[in-house]
Structure formats: C-alpha cells, structure tokens
C-alpha cells in the first residue's frame, strides 16, 4: 500500500526541518542562522496544522498559533536585533570545521535511526517515519552548541534542539498534554530572554561574543 498523504506530508516536513538545521553547520553569517531558524519554525507550524487536520485534534491549531507567535515572530525579531548589534561577528573558525561537521552530522543522522528503530517498529502511526529525523535534529542542535564559538550561534543551536524535541512530540504523540505544552512554551520564552540578556552582558564585559575567551574559571 502506498503511504498516505498524511504520512508523506509529515515525512516531508521532518526532512525540511532537518535541512534547515543542517544550514547552521555550513553557513558562517549570523544572519543566515536566524533565517534558518525562522524557516524551520514555519515548517513546524505547518506540520502542527497538518497533524491537527489529519489527526482530528483541533487543540493543535491553538498550540500552532502560540508556536507561530513565539518562534516565527518574537524570537527571530529579538535575534535579528541582536545580530544587528554584532553585525561584524562571523563564525570564522569553529572548533570543528565545516566539512568535518557535515560528516559528523551524517553520522548523527544514522545514529538517530539506530536509536529510534525500536520506536519506529512498534509504532503504527502514519507519522512514524519522521521520528528518527526529529531525533537527528536534536543531535544536530547539540552538535552546534558543542562545536561553535559564538554565543549567538549556540543560542540558535539550542532553539533548533528545542524545535527537534517539539517535532518529536508532535509526530510521536500528536502533541503533549496542553498544560505541559503551555509550560514548555513559557520556559522556552523565559529561557530565550535570559540567554539574550546574558549575550549582551558577555559583550559588555568581554567586548565580544566568543565563548573561547571564557576561561577565567578553571579546575
């Protein structure tokens, strides 16, 4: 039997989200990171709608609205404002160079498939084939946080990681209970705002947002 339209759409969405995540690994311009994050958030918002429609869960439309407000408008707006401040900064020499990062990312995708194999086997959901891609996105987010030098890039990496988990929850369980979902959004917003404050503080005290000069504290 050919996969249903729902199944095809959800896999397509997960692939697109992962591709946007990979953009972070080979672009160097901080502005392009914001574009990638925003694009990815749009894809996720559409997926919320798709799952809400095919899964007959109108609650998801409400969640999608909050998601759009937060991750398509508010966060990219603050990120761009911050990026304008630090326009000269670029991800010049990350701890891991671009080709190596991309190879590692490929391996991480394979790892995600290996980890999620039991999950995909057990599940009978039409969305199951997107699940390993969601976990891969979580891993890519981790990779960005660990190997990039600008605090700004690390924050975008963290947001990508959060999107990966949102995708995992969306495809695996058609969304988590509403009260938890709202709590998660609130945390995400507060966490983002605090990280933003800290980046300005970093810039204020160190006159740059490079994290490799954060070496005052040892042992």
């Amino acid at each position: 039997m050919a996969p249903s339209l729902f199944s095809q759409l959800s896999t397509l969405g997960a692939c697109l989200a992962l591709l946007y995540g990979l953009l972070l690994l080979w672009r160097r311009n901080l502005g392009s990171y914001v574009d990638a994050f925003q694009g990815q958030s749009v894809v996720l918002a559409v997926l919320f709608g798709v799952v809400g429609y095919f899964g007959h869960d109108p609650e998801l439309y409400f969640v999608a609205t909050v998601f759009v407000a937060l991750k398509v408008f508010l966060m990219p707006y603050y990120l761009r404002r911050m990026q304008d401040r630090f326009a000269v900064e670029r991800e010049r020499d990350p701890y891991l160079n671009v080709p190596a990062s991309l190879i590692l990312a490929g391996l991480l995708v394979i790892l995600a498939y290996a980890v999620m194999r039991p999950v995909v086997t057990i599940s009978s959901l039409p969305t199951r084939s997107g699940l390993p891609l969601a976990l891969a996105l979580v891993f890519i987010g981790l990779l960005v946080i660990l190997t990039r030098k600008k605090a700004f890039t690390q924050v975008v990496g963290f947001l990508i990681l959060e999107n990966g988990i949102t995708l995992l929850a969306l495809l695996g369980t058609y969304g988590i209970p509403l009260i938890v979902e709202l709590g998660v959004f609130l945390d995400a917003l507060m966490g983002f705002l605090v990280m933003q404050i800290f980046i300005y503080q970093l810039h204020g005290t160190f006159e740059s947002i490079d994290v490799d000069q954060l070496n005052q504290l040892r042992h």
């Binding site: 979580v138 995992l168 998660v184 605090v194 800290f198």
Partner: protein, 485 residues
Amino acid sequence: MSFLFLILPPITAALLAGLVRPYRSWVGRVNSLLSLIPIGASLVFIGGALTGGPAPTFGPDELLRADSLSALLMICVSAVAALGLFLGPTLGGEDPYRAAQLRRYQIFVNLFIAAMLLAVSANNVGVMWVSIEATTIFSALIIPLILTKTSVEASWKYILIGSTGIALAFAGTVLAYFDFVNLVGPVENALNWPVLMNSAPALHPEIIRVAFVFLLIGYGTKAGLAPMHTWLPDAHAEAPAPLSALMSGVLLAVAIYAMLRWKAVVDLLLGPAFTNQLLIMLGLLSMVIAAFSMVIQRNYKRMLAYSSIEHTGLICLGLGLGPMGIFAALYLLICHSTAKSMLFLLAGNIFHRYHSTQLSDISGLLKTMPVTGRLFAAGMLALIGLPPFGMFVAELALFRAGFSRQYIWLMVAVLVLLTVAFVSLVRHLNKILYGPIPKGISVGEPFGWRNALLFINLGILTMLGLTLPAPLLTLLNQVVGIVAK
C-alpha cells in the same frame, strides 16, 4: 489547601519585591517571614504521610500530589529556603549590593524557591520538568548580581549547559509518553506519576530504556553528575552565598528526586538492574572527578562545590544499591542539604571579612571569626563523614548496603575516594583555621542571631548522627516502599 500555603508564599514574596519600587528593606523582612509558611505546610504533609492513607492531591487532573517522598523533599527545600532568606543579602545591612540588585535578587530567588517547591509537589512528570527547567532560568538570573568577567562566564555556562541538559530530559519524557499513548491512546493525565506506575509493566522495554538514558543525562546534568557537571563549580562559586546554599543544598536534591521518580517507573518494567548499573557507573565517575579536583583546589567555594558533586555521586550510587541503599542515600541527601547550606552561608561570612575566595588568602579564621570558624570546622567535619554527625551514619548504612550485595570492590573504591576527599578537605581546613592573621583583617566577631540560626543546622546534623528519630525512620521506610516495589 496546604498546597496553596506551600507554593503561594514565595510567589507572593516575588510579587511584593516586584511591585515595591524602589526596593525597601522591609520587603526583605516580610519575605523572610513569608518563607516560614511553606515549612508549616511541609510539616502538615509529613504529618499526613505518617498517618498513612492516600496521598493528598490538588487541582484539575490531580495536578499536585504529596506522598512521603514529596513531603521529604518539601521540608528540605522549604527549610533551606527560609534559612537562605533570613541570612540573605537583604537583612545584613552592610552588603555590597545596590537597591536595584537587592530587588532583582528578592524577585528571582523567591521564584526559584517556588519552582523548586512546585517541582517536588507536581504529580504530572511533565509539569515537574517544566518547574525544574524554570529553576535554571530563575537561578541563572541572579548569579551575575554583580557583573564581573567570572560571574558572567559562570552564568553563561550554567544556563547553556543546564538548559541543554534539561531539554534532553524532556526528550526522554516525550519518548515515555509516546510509549504510553501507543498503549492506551492519548489521555490527559497520562503523565501523572501514579498512572505511569500503573501502566509501567505493559510498556515496551526497548523504548523505555532509551527514554531513561535521556532522562538520566538530562536530570543528571542538573544534579551535577559527571561528566555533565562542568557548570556546577563555576555557578556555585560565583553565585551570592545564599543562592549557592540553595543551589547546592536543595536544587541538586530536587534533580535527584526527579531521577528517583523515573527510576521507580522504569524499574517496574525492566527490573532494577538496568537503572542501578547506570546510577552506580555515573555516581562512581562523579566521585572520582570530584575527589581529585578537591585535592588541587585553590578556591574554598569551589572546594565546597566539588564536595557537592562528590555527594551527588555518592547519593546516586546509593540509589543503585537496592532498598537499603536507597534508604542510606536519602539519609545522606538530608544530611547534605543541612551541612552544605550551612557551609555555603558561612563561606559568605568568610568572604565578607577576607574579600577573597582564594584558600591562600584565608588563615587564622579561628582567631578572626571565632563563631564562624568553629561552625565552619564542625560543618566540614560533618561533611567528611566523622561521627557524631549524620553523614557518618548514612555512609555506614550505604557501605552495609553495598557489602550485603557483594559489591566488595566497588565499596573499596568508594572508601578510597572518600579517604582522598577526607585528606584534602582536612588539609584545606587546617590552612583556613590556623596560621597567622593576614594584614588588614579585623579580629573579633559578635555573636548575633545570624550565627545563632546556623546552630540549628549543626543541631540537626548532630541529632541525625546520634539517633534516628522515629518519624523520620517511618517516613524514609515509606519512601523506600514507594520507589522500590
């Protein structure tokens, strides 16, 4: 009802500090008094738990629930919170902080406390996650109360590593929920802990195993388990003293609590061997790293922080040693909360006098600050596990648990590591207490209520070392019964 008395006072305190601007010192006094109410509420929950009967719940879908384990953590959190607020920077009079900084501190420290209390009383493990994530955010905001290169660095590492780690715990929660939904379909209260416990035996081992690894890494990051501990010494050393006391004394305990809740669910499905092995492994690794870091330590607050990592390791190891081990681990957790909150507050006193966190700058403490010095010495001796303090008994029980399970070599390794920590801490303590008084440091210390309060901690530690009070024994046995079915 008691739930409201538990969680609303710190929220009220935060609101009060937020609304009164500019900051007035009476806000600090009122907030300190407010912090006594949750202690009362916790005692009511403990009383309820001791009489038996079903655990009280509150809110739609039984949002909050207080069984013996929750009640135990509630009293730890609320007691240390009250201590931290009474000895906080707002009541001292001679602080280095400006009004705006004091206001910020009062707002976020109270929100931090509210988040911790919510985390241990949440029935829904998703809400528990949300609260623990919130603790990171609120506490990170007040680490750089005074902007310096080191405090900014510490807070950045803390929020980034803490949030990332805890995000992984959420991935684990989602995976477990996925399996549950797969089994019975979407239910609103599926993430409630008792519901999870009931359905645990029917879940899929392959998925739950993956989920637990994510949960352990995630909450382990918050608990300071190696190798995810790197943020902890920085954050604990750079935070204002009362915040360090709260973070080290009870935030770590809250993270361990979250791990224990999940361990109980996973054990029902997989048997305890799987989680035990992981906990013992990470616990031992943490102890190794912490013990040797203490040897080379040059900063006394970081020394205390590494000792927290060591104790987190020991507690996790204990949780992996079966029912007896869990009993010992929880006993150790109570003692650690008591001892470490006292020591970090005393470290604040020392910093206030010596204006340095370097061990090399501190000497002659017994002469310059007789009360602080004696209390600090007693606290350190309690920390390294000497009688007549509680940790001695807890560690003895832990060793008994280990030997009774035939983990001879493991226990020998633990003994060696504890000895390494013992020797290095005693060496550092000697250096601090005796020796010449550095130039320009005033001598003498009045005995005021601020120091007197810390004698409560010392009293509790001594009591826990000399006798095991019957209510505590009952409570701990109940907890073991809950999590090790």
